[in-house]
Symmetry: C2
Subunit: 168 residues, 2 copies
């Protein structure tokens, strides 16, 4: 396989995976492109390479910056802004975990905490089942939360070393 073809495949695969996990396809693709590009890129280059409009490129890049996955760079004597993606996979994984925890897991845990407190007749099967399910999901969510928190603090080698050691 040619490098050019391989790049396209990678961008496509990353875009698809992203969209299956609730991340805008274009955003995942721009990120993929930046990941496999050694130097930082301009908006123009990204537009060109992925055949997307200026507006789309601009918004997507801002989103990626908001996710902490991409940073703006300035080159001396140049007006243009350059965009660069951190290529450390562990940093990327942590950053995504961090943002999704904040944006999605935290709010859900808050609601589950509230719903766990709802009182009712213990003899009522409807109440019993509701309460049991909510309580159980809440516990699971909190375990996931704790695991993520540890992951955020950890070094990659330590984290996977510990996790994989379990599996012996």
């Amino acid at each position: 396989m040619e490098l050019a073809e391989a790049k396209l495949k990678f961008i496509e695969a990353w875009g698809k995976l992203g969209s299956e996990w609730g991340i805008n396809r274009t955003m995942a693709q721009v990120h993929a492109l930046l990941l496999i590009t050694p130097d930082s890129m301009t908006t123009e280059e990204i537009m060109e390479e992925l055949s997307i409009s200026r507006g789309n490129a601009n918004m997507t890049l801002r989103d990626l910056i908001g996710w902490g996955l991409v940073e703006k760079q300035h080159k001396a004597g140049e007006r243009k802004e350059y965009f660069y993606a951190d290529k450390d996979t562990w940093n990327i994984a942590r950053q995504v975990a961090k943002e999704r925890r904040k944006r999605e897991l935290d709010p859900v845990i808050k609601i589950l905490d509230e719903l766990s407190k709802v009182q009712g007749d213990v003899k009522d099967p409807a109440f019993k089942t509701f309460n049991q399910s909510v309580t159980d999901i809440n516990k699971l969510a909190k375990n996931v939360d704790k695991t993520l928190e540890t992951m955020l603090k950890a070094e990659e080698s330590w984290f996977w070393g510990s996790i994989l050691k379990i599996f012996k």
Copy 2:
């Protein structure tokens, strides 16, 4: 909060979380409804409760069965089909992990394996960066894969016990 209100909140929250993670909102809502309902439900009841059409209810229920989250039940002397959701949270988490692994992670790992093999000029920064990123992501994906595999085999208490023990 009233039980009725709490139920609605739970269904809404579950639906939202689902859609943020690439799962059809209605599907998550139907699952939520079945989770907090002690007995199995008919298509009619689900349609009624969530104000959705017959076609939608039918397709959604079949999807949920495909995900292994819901099962059909038959009651003696009745023609109607009843639907029931397993309420064991750990089973649910495992089932979802299992399906997403099969549907999304496995295909991506296959592509990454291919892309890892692409040959090129080691002096070429474009190739070097491509290769490095693909290789690193492949390693991460395989670690996740192994972790999921262990999770699928494990008992809940053992799994979380082991994971959470790491964090001392």
